[in-house]
Each structure stands twice: as structure tokens, then as C-alpha cells.
Symmetry: C2
Subunit: 385 residues, 2 copies
């Protein structure tokens, strides 16, 4: 099994991009990543996308995007795991390079979802949950997050205001990211009084759907040093699953897939939570951030929210998270999100995070979740020695 | 890179299965393949599916199906490449086992499409073509196949009746397959007078959409001998792409992706077309069979149809194809088709093909195409020594 490194990253602005098609959005990220890696083409392209068929009426993105990128003929196909599609596509590319089947692999996450509004968007989101047992009952991702948050607040005696640190941090970090969808601050104290969406989840709690595309290029680690000034090692890559329906899980407040995949990725990299310098987590809702921190070993059960309340998750804290704004402020382009996380983590390790830079990180963790934790994909990134 | 072998196969009947959901259909194949391999669980599940979101309103099949199969927690996600999804999922599993990341991997192809009829089905199929340049102009897979067939007949001076051998062979073979959707014979001479769908493509020419699920289990070859009486080596696995839109291809009558992926798979296996004892090809239309035979080196340009006309593709011929009925008679469950092909090829090599058995095959080729050849996935299967 070959070691694998990242030699290029690329991304587009995140937001409502109504004036370009999904193929053009993807091409922007492909041009960026090729330029960053100083290459014209790659040997394979793995696409992370989840709603291309239902929103844009366009599936079969592998062949389509490889051709439009001028790389007709290469191996290419799409990987889907709801919002964890980008992370799962990266895992597939890692498998291909680690196996020795492919030398230079591109991973592209792309999603174009904001063209579709109202009930149609809700229907599209509903297809990512357990349709027969959740969606037909009227459950939505936001409603399920609200149930989880309410249960958490009740079980552990936590107040709504104690989640505010996650959103304040994300928006503060978003102001420094030129690609972020939201670049406004949330003032302390305003979180708990924001307009309610599905109680207790409010407008300042959940991450916005967005359009965007991000890409990375992977090569065998032994080739990376000659191909890039600062290659970043992909030291761990692990996918795990849980029951799709939240009510079917052993404990709705324990993200078992996140726990399993983080454990596997840590073992592959030979590290533990204490070695992590920054964590790009899946902050689709503040309750999901809380539970992810607990599942990955950064906090005890019922204590994840304290990292935010104590200010430890900021750029100068001991565990910076959502350093470019996270899903909450950078925006959540669903199947592209997992690739954005890895682009951002790689920029941090390369010391090229601009105003978002945290001080001298050497180990970064990313975790991409699908359908409130039914799929979890965890990656460990380190600086190549 | 580890060698990889198949230790189990499973399939469901192919046809219109309106009384069970996509998850139940998938479970049938999962039960079959686990029983065949004598196992209770696997380490990873890769799902090939293409229209789950648009037809069943259910995506995120990886987590869903892993859980319902009693394997909650394992690595699992979906792979999509239009009708080549099943083949691409198998390729992903091959990467995972070859890399050493996974020891026991299941590949499941599943599709449930016949619930949706009329314009909605056409819309779903349209999402697999180039939406902006083909589908919005009114093109459908059948209409595009008709254009290709008409061009072929004109360029090479071939008559409609000269394609009949493909459908006659497929239906004759389908009568012997208890899982086949169609088990009726097509009489010689009836093909050219069948009701026209999109001229010159007629009702006896194109394969029917169908519901179905098929699965295989892969392990490292060195473990296979202790796990199964007759393991089948996956000696080659290759994915290639072409322009998605047929009119964008260098020559609409040359399946470049099929050619590339077959070439790669042959090189991996160290064999050539002359070594192939049977070929499960993607006979979605007779013109596609013709072009696939040419692209894979079994016939010269403009001569693929002659293998059918000369009777060489039957069970006793020198290149048996569609030995269980192919897409045309077994039925075409889209994202499951590529896995059915491999199940059938493995049964032939194991000598367990029942009435469909061809005499003593040692090398089988399968090729799964998406959107009339925009994606091609080729596998070479051989008997483990």
C-alpha cells in the first residue's frame, strides 16, 4: 500500500451561483487545482456529488466533466454518500493511488443546489434521509437536528445560548475567507434570539445550502516531493456508516460512524486526538459539531459544547475548528463540502491560509458527515517530512 | 498491489418488481451472495445504482443497505456512472481489496426503475445523457442509438435484418435462465418486421429497463482458496470515458472508451481478445453490441455484426455472448447490469451456469457501458489456478 500525498488544491467561491451551470462550476475548480499543481491533466477523476440528478437533471458527471476538462478517456466516475459524497470521493482516489492503480488522481466535489427552491429542494433533501421511515413522516434534516438538539439539551441540562460559540467562531472565521458565503459577524448574545426554523434550531444555527466546487490532486508520497514545494500527506482515510434513520441508532446522541471512522483514521496515521492542531468538522448544525467533537475524542459525552463555550475552538485556541468559516459561514455545498474541508486543511498545513492561518499546524483532521452522521468520512493530513 | 478473487455471487430475478422496495430488492441479492460465500458479513459494501434518487426518491444507499443487511458500521457508499454504475462499483471494490485497505468487499448493483412510467421515466433517463446538449434537444438513449445504427447501416452498407442474430441469440439464451425477464424465442425473420420504436431501432432491438439486484464478494486472491471451492480471479479491471454527448465523439461509430478500457484490462490480465472464451457485453441495442465487438478487438470496423450473422456468438460458437440472455432478454436493471454480467461470467467459469453453461470456459470478459459508451468498465475473469 503506497503512501499518498496532496500536491494541489483548488476551490470556487461558495454561494448562490445561478449564472453558471454545474459543468462550468466544476471547471472553475478543475482549472484552479491544475494550476496549483502545475499540471495539464491527471490520470483519473473521482467526482463527489449528491443532488446533480434531482436538481440539475444531470448525472453521469464523471465522463461529462473529464471530457470538458480536456481529459477525455481517463478513468472517471461519481461517488455518492449524501453530504459525505466529497469525502467518499477522496477516499476512492486514495484507494486508487494507494493500490498503485493510478498515479495522479483528481478529486472534485461539486454541487449546484440553490437554483431549486421551495418544496422541490425539500424533496431533494428528503432523498438523502431514510425515505420510507423518515421523509414520508415529514422529517427533514433540520427537523431531525432539532430533535437531536432538544434531546441533548434535556439529557445534559444545556441551554440554547451555550451553543452560540460555534456560530460566532464560524462567522468570525468566514469574514477572513474570500470564498465564504457569509462574511458577517454574529454578535455574542444574538444567537439565542435568532428567528426559529425548527425549535430549538434557529437561523444562526444551521448551515446554508450553497453552490460550489473544490478539488485536490493526489499522488504517491514518494513522487510528491518532486512535484510540489509543500506536499501534504494523507496519513489516514476512513469511511464508516451508521443507521440512516436517526431513530434507528443505538443512541441518537452518539455519532457512531464518526467515532468509528475517526478511530480508524487515527490508527492509520498513528496519532490520537491530542495530536490534532486543527479540525475541519461537519458543522451543519451546532448540535452536530457538539456530537462530532464528542465522537472523535475531543470531549466527553455531554461536554462537546464546552469547547465552544470556553473559546477553545478559535484560531488561537487549542483546537481551532471551521477555520475558513466551516459549513455555517463558508457555506455547505453538500457533495463538495468534504473536499472544501481538505482544501482548507491543506492550505493551513502549507502555511498558505492567509488571514485564516492558524499558528504552525502540523496535523489536521477533517470529517465529512452525510445525513446527520449516517456516513462519516475522516481524513488525517500531515506535513510531508 | 494484491491480486483479487471473487468468492461469492448472488442475484435476484430481473423484471418488473412493483411489490418490493429498493431496499428489499437489494437485501435479496445480499442474502444470496452471503449464502454463496458462506459468510455472515463483509468489511465494506460498494453500491452501484443510478436512478435511486429520481425514481425511488432514495439516495444514500450505502449507509441504508449496510444497516439493513445487519452490517451497520462498515465502509459503504454509492458509485454512479449511469448504466455503468455496477461495473464502476466493482472497480472500486477491486481498488479497495487490491490496495490492502479492505479484505472482504461486497459489490451490490441495484436498480428499481419500472415503478416510474411515461414522461417521468424519460426524464430520469435524460439525466444520464448530456442534459444541456442532448436531452434538451429531445434526444433519448433510444433515439441516439437509432442515429448511430442508421449511420452504421449507411456507412458500411448493412441491412437491418443483419442485426437479428444478436436478439435471436439473447432470447434463446434467456429461455434457459430462470432469472431472465424475457424467456421467449425470437424467430428468424421476425426481427426486421418488429414494431418500430425510433427507426431503425425496433422492439426486438433494444433492451428493456428492469428492476433487479446482483452482488459479488471479493477477497485477496491468496485468501480465496481457503474461502471458496472455486474462486474466480478478477484479473483485470479498467474504467475509461469518452465524450458524454454522442455528437461530440471523434467518431460516433467507434466506442473509444470501450476500446481503452478493454485494452487496459487485457494488459492487466496479460491476455488478448483471442484468449476470451465468453463475453458478457453491454447489448443495450444491437448497434451497441456491434460496436463493442469492434472496439474490443473481436471484429474489424464495420464487421461486428458478422459475428452474429455467422452464428459465432451462440453458446457453441467461438465467442459466446449474452450467455444468460444479456441486457436484451435477461433485462437491463441499469446500475445493477454490470454486476449481473460478472455474476454470470463467474458462474460460467465455475461450471455452475446450468442450462446456460458454455463448454469449459477459462477466461471471461465483461463490459458495462454507460450512456451509449461514454463510460466503459471492462473486467477480465479467469479461473484461479
Amino acid at each position: 500500500m503506497r503512501d499518498v500525498s496532496i500536491i494541489g488544491v483548488g476551490q470556487t467561491p461558495v454561494g448562490e451561483q445561478w449564472d453558471i451551470s454545474i459543468r462550468d462550476l466544476a471547471q472553475q475548480a478543475i482549472r484552479e487545482v491544475l494550476a496549483d499543481a502545475g499540471r495539464q491533466r491527471v490520470d483519473a477523476l473521482y467526482v463527489g456529488n449528491t443532488l446533480g440528478g434531482s436538481v440539475s437533471g444531470q448525472q453521469h458527471l464523471g465522463a461529462l466533466l473529464a471530457d470538458f476538462a480536456g481529459m477525455r478517456g481517463i478513468e472517471s466516475y461519481t461517488v455518492e454518500a449524501a453530504e459525505a459524497a466529497g469525502g467518499a470521493a477522496l477516499h476512492t482516489a486514495w484507494l486508487a493511488v494507494a493500490a498503485g492503480a493510478v498515479d495522479v488522481a483528481m478529486v472534485l466535489g461539486v454541487e449546484k443546489v440553490t437554483d431549486m427552491v421551495g418544496p422541490a429542494r425539500l424533496t431533494a433533501h428528503g432523498s438523502l434521509l431514510d425515505t420510507d421511515y423518515e421523509t414520508v413522516q415529514g422529517a427533514t434534516p433540520t427537523a431531525l437536528a432539532a430533535l437531536m438538539m432538544r434531546l441533548y439539551m434535556d439529557r445534559y441540562g444545556v441551554g440554547l445560548e451555550q451553543f452560540e460559540g460555534f456560530s460566532i467562531n464560524a462567522h468570525a472565521n468566514g469574514t477572513k475567507n474570500p470564498y465564504a458565503m457569509f462574511r458577517n459577524l454574529i454578535k455574542p448574545g444574538r444567537f439565542a434570539t435568532a428567528p426559529v426554523v425548527s425549535p430549538p434550531v434557529n437561523l444562526f444555527d444551521g448551515a446554508p445550502d450553497a453552490d460550489g466546487a473544490a478539488a485536490v490532486i493526489l499522488v504517491p508520497a514518494e513522487m510528491a516531493a518532486d512535484m510540489a514545494p509543500k506536499p501534504v500527506r494523507l496519513a489516514g482515510s476512513a469511511v464508516a456508516t451508521d443507521a440512516l434513520a436517526v431513530h434507528d441508532r443505538a443512541d441518537p446522541l452518539f455519532l457512531a460512524a464518526a467515532n468509528l471512522s475517526a478511530g480508524r483514521a487515527f490508527r492509520q496515521a498513528g496519532i490520537g486526538p491530542g495530536d490534532v492542531d486543527l479540525f475541519e468538522l461537519h458543522d451543519s448544525f451546532t448540535i452536530v459539531s457538539t456530537l462530532a467533537l464528542e465522537a472523535c475524542g475531543f470531549a466527553g459525552r455531554g461536554e462537546g459544547w464546552q469547547l465552544a463555550a470556553d473559546g477553545r475552538i478559535g484560531p488561537g485556541g487549542d483546537l481551532p475548528i471551521s477555520t475558513f468559516g466551516g459549513l455555517k459561514a463558508r457555506g455547505n455545498p453538500l457533495g463538495a463540502t468534504g473536499v472544501y474541508q481538505v482544501v482548507e486543511a491543506a492550505l493551513q498545513l502549507r502555511g498558505q491560509a492567509g488571514e485564516s492561518q492558524v499558528p504552525g499546524p502540523r496535523v489536521a483532521l477533517t470529517q465529512n458527515l452525510g445525513s446527520l452522521g449516517a456516513t462519516a468520512v475522516t481524513h488525517v493530513l500531515t506535513l510531508d517530512e
